[in-house]
């Protein structure tokens, strides 16, 4: 497998795993929050704020993974060097 194919594979797998994990994490968080509010409606404000902070942190992880995946495909720091090596052969 050549370098550029490996980069595209790595990017695809990375963002797939990240989105999957973040989706599950967010789902578990919201599920817990909704159940908590259902049992104790007075705690709604506190639970929502804590949930908001947690979800923002989870979401940023997924965005980081997206950026890294896009860097691997479009802005790989060593892409030019590898292209030269490939062209030389």
């Amino acid at each position: 497998m050549d370098f550029f194919t490996a980069c595209v594979w790595a990017a695809g797998v990375a963002i797939g795993i990240a989105a999957f994990g973040c989706g599950i994490g967010q789902g578990m968080g919201v599920n817990g929050a909704v159940q908590g509010i259902a049992r104790n409606p007075e705690s709604s404000g506190k639970v929502t704020v804590t949930l908001l902070i947690g979800l923002a942190m989870i979401e940023s992880l997924c965005i980081y993974a997206l950026v890294v995946a896009l860097i691997l495909i479009y802005a790989h720091p060593q892409a030019a060097e590898f292209a030269k090596i490939v062209a030389g052969h």
């Binding site: 967010q26 259902a38 506190k46 908001l52 979401e59 965005i63 997206l66 950026v67 896009l70």
Partner: protein, 132 residues
């Protein structure tokens, strides 16, 4: 004002503060693509945070009486829509070489830094309160 409201107010204010200060410092001290990365990244996550807050408050305000699955669905669908839009924007920025990826990552860290700062502040306050 209780601790939760204080944290959320601090994070919201701190996001905009870091956005303005980071962008200004970026344009003064760093090359144009790096500064553009900070500007677009921090704007993107700050707007994302506001939309997430709006979605959650709306969903939780009407939570009682509704099944958990429907609320979960609404929040997750809106999350994926936001994520897709962010993805398209970030894709366009990186593909078009408009921004430097490192600057973009710095800009995207604004919300994380705000939350870390808010947590540290509250923790420090708690420790000093207990010490006194």
């Amino acid at each position: 004002m209780d601790i939760h409201q204080r944290i959320i107010k601090f994070v919201t204010t701190s996001n905009w503060f870091l956005f303005v200060v980071g962008t200004l410092l970026g344009f003064i001290n760093t090359p144009m693509p790096f500064a553009m990365g900070i500007l677009t990244g921090s704007l993107l996550v700050t707007l994302n945070f506001h939309l997430l807050r709006h979605t959650l408050y709306k969903a939780m305000a009407t939570a009682s009486g509704k099944p958990a699955r429907s609320i979960l669905g609404v929040v997750l669908i809106k999350y994926y829509i936001r994520f897709a839009i962010s993805g398209i924007v970030i894709f366009a920025l990186i593909k078009g070489n408009i921004v430097d990826p490192l600057g973009l990552i710095m800009g995207l860290s604004v919300v994380v830094v705000s939350i870390m700062a808010a947590t540290t502040l509250e923790l420090t306050r708690l420790i000093f309160k207990e010490a006194v």
